[in-house]
Every structure is written in structure tokens, then in C-alpha cells.
């Protein structure tokens, strides 16, 4: 018994001393930090900033840019690649917990709202803020810098289509679902047995396809709110039925029909690249997968064909998908913050910065002044639609579990044809009744 008490006491003492050490340590490092800051500002320039890059496919480009940027400006840029086995939010949280936040963090739009009040610096007075309509504003302050524009629609392989039909492919000719269906039948007769691919990943179904049902409403926010409070109806909704009619068509011609919920993203992308299938629902980010394969020359993106009169079948859905926010906490020095602001400014207003965005990373810029004519085929389509004003904005306030519940538990079943339209509408309506709304 006594031995037990002794060991308990010792354990407690250890724990206490640990805590004491902890606080002492952090005080010390705080002192050291401020010392460093003084030294830094003393010799002028030479600040070091850290960037979290959550677009992992452009990490190499980022690292190369960091080297060149340091040579030119003397600012050391450390680029961290987001872990793929955890969420960006949790990675940022870890850094804040250890008082070592990234100076610039690249996050999804939704994350901006979560961090805005506590951690995001006010960017309203920046010169670039006037050159874009896509910045995120919280409580009247611009806090999110739109890094790139991405959009979703049907990706097509024009070479594969033209090889069978023998005539030039014009996406606007298949804006109506019947016309799209006729083309698909023609392709089947011409020897392409299954001309369509549908990605089965829950993020594609739950965060890319199904949200179009809300985004293409007259007032997306009001519609989602009505679903959340139980007054809205999905089953009779015109957009829901119109989009699901189109989805049914895609299912009918899906090459993976039979084990559709198990289709492999790599395989589907490869088939589109090589023209074994002609259409695939996706976005311009799919280029990073497709360009790994032996792709044919004429690829592009078009709106989802629909039987509708609201012209949404001539528009793609998209917006800025990655945002930078600048850390406002005291763990970042004013000098670092200034260097971060300079970096954002460089992206928008410097020819090298523009080239990094549009040429090296092949991203669609969110700023009016940036020219981008060397983009990949999908991004060129996005830019064409965006410039013509034919882009329906994305809706960023869906409940957090929408992607997993609607995408995985519900839409995968529908994709596998083990759930009918009425059951789908019921399941989604039921989901919204217990979902937690996102405050905005």
C-alpha cells in the first residue's frame, strides 16, 4: 500500500514539474522570439515566412518558387506540404497549439469562416482586393485571398467523339439532355460501348455533383435553409429532378455499371485521356491525373446537359476553391506579416508571380488583371466560361458531414442503382433535418 502511495506521489510530482517546465520553456522562447525580432528588424529585410500549401499537386512548383523568390527579395519562404492523412484544419490547429503558426495558410473556403475571427488578418486595404470579386469577407473585412478558380462540369474527349461521329464536336449542341442522349447512342453504335465515366469517390458525388442541386436554385441559401428547417421539399424540386435525370443518363452509359461504386479514379481518368470513354463528370483539377496518361489533343469541359429552360445547361459551376489567410496572432511578427502581404501582392501584380500561378502551377487566376492563355485544356474552358459570365457560384455553407453522408451513404447507393429517386430525395431530406448548419 505504502509503495503505491509513494509511486503515486512521485508520478504527480513528475507531472507537476513537467507542467512547470512547460510554462517556463514557453516564456523563455517568447523572450527569445522577441529578441530575434529585434535583431531581424535591425538588419532590415531577410524575414522568414512559412506557407502551408494544401494543393499538394503543386508542391514542387511551390518549392522552386520559394528559392527564386528568396534570391530576388531576400525573404526566406518555407513551404510546407499539407499532410494527406489528416485535414488541413487539424494541421493548422496543431501549429496554433504549439504557438508556431504558418504565416500564410492555404485552406478551403469553409475553413476561412472557422478561423476568421481569431486568426485571420484584415486584408481589406490590400491593392488586390479591388481586382477580384472572389475574396472572402467576414464581418465587413476581407480575410481570404482567392488563390485559384476551379469549376466542375462534364469533361469530354473531343477526339474520341469526332473519330466516331466524323464531325466537329460542339458542346453547345448537346446542352439539352435529349441531344446528349442521341450523341451517346451514336457513340455506342459507333463502337464505344460505354462512353461515360463517373467517379465513385464520395467527395465527387457529395461535394461536387449533388451540391449543384442547391447551387443552381434561384436562391441557394434560402433553399438549403428550407431543407434544414424541414419546410423545403426535394422530391418535387425542379432542379433536383432535372439534374438527377441527367445523372440517370450518365449511369446508363457508365462503363463501370454493375460495380459503379467501386470505379477507380485512375482508371476512369486514363480511359478519358486515351479516348476509351468520351465523357466524365469532374473538374479542371482532374488535369493533374489525366496528364499522367497518354492523352489526346482535344479535351475540354462543358456544362452538364439538362432539360431546363433556366440556361444553367450553358453554365459551369465554380469559384475560388483555395484561399490564403494571413496569421494575425502575436506569434507572427509584424515584419513577417508584411512579408506575407508582399508575397500576395507579388502573386497578383508581378509578372513572375503571375507566371508562377498560371504557367508553372497551371491554375486559373481569380484576378481580372492576370492574363492566362497557356493553361491546360480544362482550365482554358473554365476561363472561357468564367470570362463570359457563365459560371454559377459554388455554395460554401453546406453542413460539414454533407460530403460523407450524402456522398457516401446515399449517392453511392443511387449510383449503384440500389436506391430509387424517391428514396434518394427522402434520405437527403431526412439527413438535413438532423444536420448542423454552418453559421455565416
Amino acid at each position: 500500500m505504502r509503495r503505491k502511495i509513494v509511486s503515486l506521489v512521485v508520478g504527480a510530482a513528475m507531472a507537476l514539474s513537467m507542467v512547470a517546465c512547460g510554462t517556463q520553456g514557453s516564456e523563455e522562447s517568447a523572450v527569445q522570439n522577441s529578441g530575434e525580432q529585434v535583431a531581424d528588424s535591425g538588419n532590415g529585410g531577410g524575414a522568414a515566412i512559412s506557407i502551408l500549401n494544401s494543393k499538394t499537386e503543386i508542391q514542387t512548383q511551390f518549392e522552386d518558387m520559394a528559392k527564386e523568390y528568396e534570391e530576388k527579395t531576400g525573404v526566406h519562404v518555407e513551404v510546407y506540404n499539407a499532410d494527406t492523412d489528416t485535414t488541413v484544419a487539424s494541421q493548422i490547429a496543431t501549429k496554433y497549439a504549439s504557438h508556431d503558426p504558418y504565416t500564410l495558410s492555404m485552406v478551403d473556403p469553409k475553413d476561412i469562416y472557422a478561423v476568421a475571427n481569431e486568426y485571420a488578418y484584415d486584408l481589406s486595404n490590400e491593392d488586390w482586393a479591388k481586382k477580384t470579386k472572389l475574396g472572402i469577407t467576414v464581418d465587413g473585412k476581407v480575410v481570404g485571398f482567392p488563390f485559384c478558380v476551379e469549376a466542375r462540369g462534364i469533361l469530354y474527349n473531343a477526339d474520341a467523339i469526332e473519330k466516331i461521329t466524323g464531325e466537329a464536336f460542339d458542346p453547345t449542341s448537346v446542352a439539352k439532355l435529349e441531344d446528349f442522349q442521341k450523341l451517346l447512342d451514336k457513340l455506342v453504335q459507333g463502337g464505344m460501348e460505354k462512353p461515360v465515366g463517373i467517379l465513385s469517390e464520395y467527395w465527387s458525388l457529395g461535394a461536387h455533383w449533388f451540391p449543384m442541386v442547391y447551387e443552381e436554385q434561384q436562391d441557394p441559401d434560402a433553399f438549403v435553409k428550407s431543407l434544414l428547417d424541414g419546410s423545403g421539399s426535394l422530391a418535387e424540386n425542379e432542379k433536383f429532378n432535372s439534374l438527377m435525370d441527367s445523372f440517370d443518363t450518365l449511369i446508363k452509359y457508365n462503363y463501370a455499371k454493375g460495380s459503379a461504386s467501386n470505379a477507380d479514379r485512375e482508371e476512369t481518368s486514363m480511359m478519358l485521356a486515351e479516348g476509351q470513354i468520351a465523357f466524365m463528370f469532374g473538374g479542371n483539377w482532374d488535369w493533374s491525373v489525366i496528364n499522367q496518361y497518354d492523352y489526346t489533343e482535344h479535351l475540354g469541359m462543358m456544362p452538364v446537359p439538362q432539360n431546363t429552360a433556366d440556361t444553367s445547361n450553358f453554365k459551369i459551376v465554380g469559384g475560388a476553391t483555395k484561399y490564403f489567410f494571413v496569421d494575425s496572432s502575436s506569434d507572427t511578427s509584424d515584419e513577417q506579416r508584411q512579408a506575407a502581404l508582399d508575397f500576395l501582392n507579388w502573386l497578383v501584380n508581378d509578372a513572375d508571380g503571375n507566371a508562377f500561378l498560371t504557367e508553372k502551377c497551371a491554375l486559373v487566376p481569380a484576378f481580372e488583371n492576370i492574363k492566362a492563355d497557356k493553361l491546360d485544356p480544362f482550365s482554358l474552358s473554365v476561363k472561357t466560361y468564367a470570362d463570359a459570365g457563365n459560371m454559377i457560384p459554388t455554395y460554401n455553407y453546406l453542413p460539414d458531414d454533407h460530403m460523407t453522408v450524402v456522398g457516401q451513404e446515399i449517392m453511392q447507393k443511387y449510383l449503384d442503382e440500389s436506391m430509387d429517386r424517391a428514396a434518394l430525395a427522402d434520405a437527403v431530406t431526412e439527413y438535413f433535418k438532423s444536420a448542423t448548419p454552418i453559421e455565416h
Partner: protein
């Protein structure tokens, strides 16, 4: 020098276990207590504020149907996997200690899967199930065969197969040690008394190897209950979220759905269940141990 004073004991303790105690506290005890504290807050995972909400997270956890479904699924998965892992491990351990040719090679061979990380293992087997087996079945059944991973029960079965493949080699090592520890004398005595090979395994070797069984069962049970990596890379919950085991549900709840507190509370419940089952199993197993 007196050896029974508090000061002496403390010194001895600090000399021999001081460092370990500090490390143990800092990586296990303190995070555990902090985690416990987080279950009483509605922290979103990022914010500096951690509003205190009392028992709300536990109420949410208990009313989270998806959690209990995934927990039930984990029970089924664990029950089957634990039995299969141990049965397979025991049989191969018996074979590689029975003096067959090249038994050291086989021991190494069976152990190798355990050296491959769970994530990699998952991707490798995903290819086997989705491509290799489907192609093979396609030849046999003359048409497009369905992958095991595309059906609800098939995905769980696939998880079990991969777990057995992964753990059996490791458990085999423990059973091999068990077989080696059974003294030749006892086996020889049994033979002289007229025991057949099978009788001597059932009545002599197995009772003397109880310690190995207790260890292997404990390891497999806890590992199966906590499995995440293979689950993530092999099925990621597909199809329809029907193969998401408890740990995956907890992770999604905390980090994907951003209900950090609820996820943490669910993790704690999973820990308690795991600890209770593991504890009971070790207690019962220890009671059954015999000495030669």
C-alpha cells in the same frame, strides 16, 4: 545505510524509473487527461476558445446512430478476425516448428507482411481485389465479375482477409516461442505414455502455452478494435459507408465533420470498451495458465 526510508526509495525510483516516468507522463498520461477534458468542450478543432458544454458530447455520442452501427460492425469484424488470425497463426507456428525443410525461410516469409505498413498493405490489396481477382474471375465466369470491395459484406470480408494476412505472421512468432518453451521431456514422457501426436498437442502443448494465447489474443483484440490504416486505404468506408469501422467513424466525426468534442467522446467510449474487453480476456486467460 537504511534502505527503507522514503528518501532512499524515492532516490532509487528516480534513478531507475525517473526518465521513463517523465516520458510516460508526457506522451500518455497528460495527453489522455487533456483529451478527457476536450470531451467536455465544444471545440471545433482549430479555435482558441474551447467552450465548456458539460455532458453534451456524450449525449451526442450516445445518440449518434452511425457510431453504434460502426461499433457493431467492429465487433463482428474483430470476432471473426481474432479467431482466424489466431487459428492461422497457431497452425503455421505448429508447421514451422515441426521440423519441416526450410522452416526458417517459412518463418521469415510469414512474418514479412507484418513489416509492411497498413496503408501500403491496403493499396496493394485494393489492387489485388479490384484488378487481379476481378480479371481472374472474369476468365473463369466469362464476363465482368464484381469486385469483393463493391459489395457491403464483401468489403468487410476483404478487411478480415487482409487483417489475417497482416497479423498472422506476427502472432505466429509468439506461438513459435510458445512451442519452443514446451520442454522436450514433457512431450517425450507423453509419447512414452502412449499419446498420439494430436493428443500431445491438445493435452500437453496447448495448456503449457496458455501464456502465448493470452498475449496473442490481447494483441489481436486490441489491434482489431482500433484498426484504421487498412480500413482507410483499402475501403475508405465504401461502399455506402458500410465498411467504416469505429476508429474511422471517430476520425470522420472529429476531423471531417468538425465535431471534435463528440469525436473525442466517441474515442473515449471506444477506449473504455477496448480496455474492458482486453482486461477481462487477460484476467480469464491468466487464471487458466498452468505450470509444468
Amino acid at each position: 545505510m537504511k534502505t527503507n526510508t522514503l528518501g532512499y526509495k524515492l532516490k532509487q525510483y528516480l534513478i531507475f524509473a525517473g526518465l521513463t516516468t517523465v516520458i510516460f507522463c508526457s506522451v500518455v498520461i497528460i495527453p489522455f487527461i487533456y483529451g478527457l477534458y476536450l470531451t467536455f468542450t465544444s471545440w471545433n478543432g482549430v479555435s482558441r476558445n474551447k467552450p465548456f458544454v458539460g455532458m453534451e458530447n456524450y449525449v451526442n455520442a450516445f445518440s449518434d446512430g452511425g457510431y453504434w452501427t460502426s461499433l457493431g460492425r467492429t465487433f463482428i469484424y474483430s470476432a471473426i478476425a481474432v479467431v482466424l488470425v489466431n487459428a492461422v497463426a497457431f497452425i503455421i507456428a505448429y508447421m514451422v516448428t515441426s521440423g519441416i525443410k526450410g522452416q526458417n525461410f517459412f518463418r521469415a516469409g510469414f512474418f514479412v507482411p507484418n513489416l509492411i505498413g497498413g496503408i501500403v498493405l491496403g493499396y496493394v490489396w485494393k489492387f489485388v481485389f479490384n484488378k487481379a481477382l476481378v480479371e481472374l474471375m472474369g476468365y473463369i465466369s466469362d464476363g465482368r465479375a464484381k469486385s469483393l470491395l463493391a459489395t457491403e459484406s464483401g468489403a468487410i470480408a476483404a478487411l478480415i482477409i487482409v487483417s489475417v494476412w497482416q497479423y498472422a505472421g506476427y502472432m505466429m512468432l509468439i506461438y513459435v516461442a510458445g512451442f519452443m518453451s514446451v520442454s522436450e521431456d514433457v512431450i517425450e514422457a507423453a509419447k512414452i505414455d502412449g499419446c498420439t501426436g494430436r493428443q500431445s498437442i491438445i493435452h500437453i502443448s496447448i495448456p503449457l502455452m496458455t501464456a502465448s494465447f493470452v498475449q496473442c489474443l490481447f494483441l489481436t483484440i486490441t489491434r482489431c478494435f482500433m484498426v484504421y490504416d487498412v480500413n482507410l486505404s483499402l475501403t475508405n468506408g465504401d461502399p455506402y459507408g458500410s465498411s467504416a469501422l469505429a476508429a474511422m467513424h471517430v476520425y470522420n466525426q472529429a476531423f471531417v465533420n468538425k465535431n471534435y468534442g463528440t469525436g473525442q467522446a466517441e474515442a473515449l467510449i471506444l477506449f473504455v470498451i477496448c480496455a474492458v474487453i482486453g482486461g477481462i480476456q487477460v484476467y480469464v486467460g491468466k487464471k487458466g495458465e498452468v505450470q509444468a
